[in-house]
């Protein structure tokens, strides 16, 4: 029946949407970690620069 097929398509999309959102999250997580690490490194760089100036 057509209704069944429409439902089946909707289910497939909902599964896809869930999985692609997970991938998106994982990807954002990785990029966030990377950004945080280089930001911390940058802060360390600035700290060490300031230390050099004031000591």
């Amino acid at each position: 029946m057509d209704e069944d097929k429409v439902k089946e398509i909707k289910d497939i999309y909902s599964d896809y949407n869930y999985k692609i959102s997970n991938i998106k999250e994982k990807k954002n997580e990785v990029l966030k970690t990377y950004r945080t690490r280089i930001e911390h490194t940058r802060i360390d760089e600035i700290k060490s620069f300031l230390q050099k100036i004031f000591t």
């Binding site: 991938i23 990807k27 490194t41």
Partner: protein
């Protein structure tokens, strides 16, 4: 319950069936699928573009030492992690699209089966299946069963057909059984063509021998042919001359004229003697040998058999040289009816004149066939009924290059004039009569009424082996020449356009 189709579902032609009613899923499912495809694509696009995001991060937070930045990325396995997630997303997208496609269109097998049905089944049958699906749908019944039955039945037919590759292949049958397949063509515009009623895709009128040859050679339409036999009247020939095949696939083979009907250039379906495959162009089992002589007809004189062949390839031209000697016997009641009560010797003379005229006509037609075979650069074969056996020959013409209009004017006319001068214009002079006879002979040769040729016995296998394969360019030229004739109607015009595109 009779289902009235609405405007959208109207089924008037093959295209209509495909698009509207049939074996395709209703639009609502397709619409949902289309919307879902867009959503899938959008979701995928919303995944951050890895390269751009990295570029943004790297330009907004710049370290003094760029090497440190690369080191961090390496330590994290950043590139490989991101690529593997991108790949995962890409695969997920493709899998999802495929899953939805399967629901909308059916499995790949079903698609192939549907194409098979489109190629070989009658429009009426396809309409009937479509109608029963619609009827079931409107009554809230399960349409799946009708659909599944259709797919199962058609896929069995398809698989049987494909498993009979060898027994249906024209070249194989020719080699193995020494049978030939001929497509008769009218030599003059006066000669009757095939039935217009059964062929509504091509307007036969005005098509010459050459046009039809180009149509078959260039467009590979599914055609009707016959296998000749000495056991039938006129050797079982639909036409005394035409095309001899070297390849093709046999769809049906009937002992008699099956009134095959063309539904498109590539679709031809028998109308009669098809009880076990009424809806289809494909006869489930074929037995060529039994249909050639027509033995199964139990003594009835049936003029010719009918075999439908798809993708026919031309091996050459043919002409039947047989003269029915029995017909010219004195005891044939036709003569008495024609000439009335006349003395026997007079009757014999008149019958002989008839026979000579027939022989002259044959020579003249063979000469025309010779011209065609030279122009088309394909061999010419001849048939001859000899003592109840139909023999196949290759024809070798003996040329007389010395016979020309010039030869007549510069040699024979002066010679004749000289004789007449010397004998006081005595036209009964044997020397003059000799020249006169030579003049007449040369004139007959030049007009094709008298030709010298020798016949070399050939087998069907030798005909297959001598087949010249037409090049793509040749086929295109043939197809273009016939397209310009404007003889195609509606659907077949589109088929011709497509074929031309494929050949270009």
């Amino acid at each position: 319950m009779i289902v009235e189709l609405n405007e959208k579902e109207k089924i008037g032609n093959i295209e209509g069936i495909e698009k509207n009613a049939t074996l395709e899923i209703p639009k609502s499912v397709q619409e949902v699928a289309q919307e879902t495809f867009s959503k899938v694509e959008n979701d995928f696009m919303l995944l951050s573009n890895t390269d751009n995001t990295l570029l943004k991060i790297n330009s907004s937070v710049k370290l003094n030492n760029p090497e440190v930045q690369s080191k961090i990325a390496q330590e994290m396995n950043l590139t490989s992690m991101l690529s593997s997630l991108d790949l995962e997303a890409e695969n997920l997208k493709l899998e999802t699209i495929e899953k939805i496609n399967k629901i909308v269109l059916g499995t790949k097998d079903n698609l192939n089966t549907r194409d098979f049905s489109k190629a070989y089944h009658t429009p009426q049958y396809r309409t009937d299946v479509a109608k029963s699906i619609l009827e079931a749908r409107r009554s809230g019944l399960n349409t799946e069963k009708i659909r599944d039955d259709f797919y199962q039945k058609t896929s069995e037919e398809k698989s049987d057909f494909e498993s009979q590759e060898k027994e249906r292949r024209v070249s194989e049958v020719m080699k193995e059984k020494d049978i030939v397949f001929l497509h008769g063509l009218p030599l003059s515009s006066m000669e009757e063509r095939g039935s217009d009623f059964n062929n509504r895709v091509v307007n036969n009128k005005g098509l010459t021998f050459e046009d039809t040859y180009n149509l078959i050679g260039g467009l590979d339409p599914t055609i009707s042919v016959f296998a000749p036999s000495a056991d039938r009247p006129n050797n079982g020939m639909y036409k005394r001359q035409g095309i001899i095949l070297g390849e093709g696939k046999i769809l049906s083979a009937k002992t008699q004229d099956s009134g095959s009907e063309a539904f498109g250039l590539q679709k031809r379906i028998p109308k009669y003697y098809n009880e076990n495959h009424k809806h289809s162009a494909i006869q489930p089992n074929i037995d060529i040998e039994s249909i050639v002589s027509g033995e199964s007809l139990q003594g009835r004189d049936v003029l010719y058999n009918e075999i439908t062949v798809e993708k026919p390839q031309i091996a050459g031209l043919y002409y039947d040289l047989s003269i029915d000697n029995d017909y010219y016997q004195m005891d044939n009641p036709t003569w008495k009816a024609t000439f009335g009560e006349i003395p026997a010797n007079e009757m014999e003379k008149k019958v002989q004149e008839f026979k000579n005229t027939e022989i002259q006509k044959r020579n003249s037609e063979l000469f025309q066939m010779k011209k065609y075979s030279e122009k088309m650069n394909v061999p010419l074969y001849a048939f001859k009924n000899e003592n109840g056996e139909l023999r196949k020959y290759g024809v070798k013409f003996i040329e007389h290059p010395e016979y020309s209009q010039d030869y007549l004017k510069t040699n024979l006319v002066p010679k004749a004039q000289e004789i007449l001068r010397n004998n006081n214009n005595n036209m009964n002079d044997p020397a003059y009569q000799e020249i006169l006879q030579e003049v007449q002979k040369i004139k007959r040769v030049l007009n094709g009424q008298e030709i010298d040729y020798s016949l070399v016995s050939v087998t069907a296998e030798e005909i297959v082996n001598s087949e010249r394969i037409f090049s793509q360019e040749e086929k295109l030229k043939m197809a273009e020449s016939i397209k310009d004739k404007g003889v195609f109607t509606g659907q077949s015009e589109k088929e011709v356009e497509k074929k031309l595109k494929d050949l270009q």
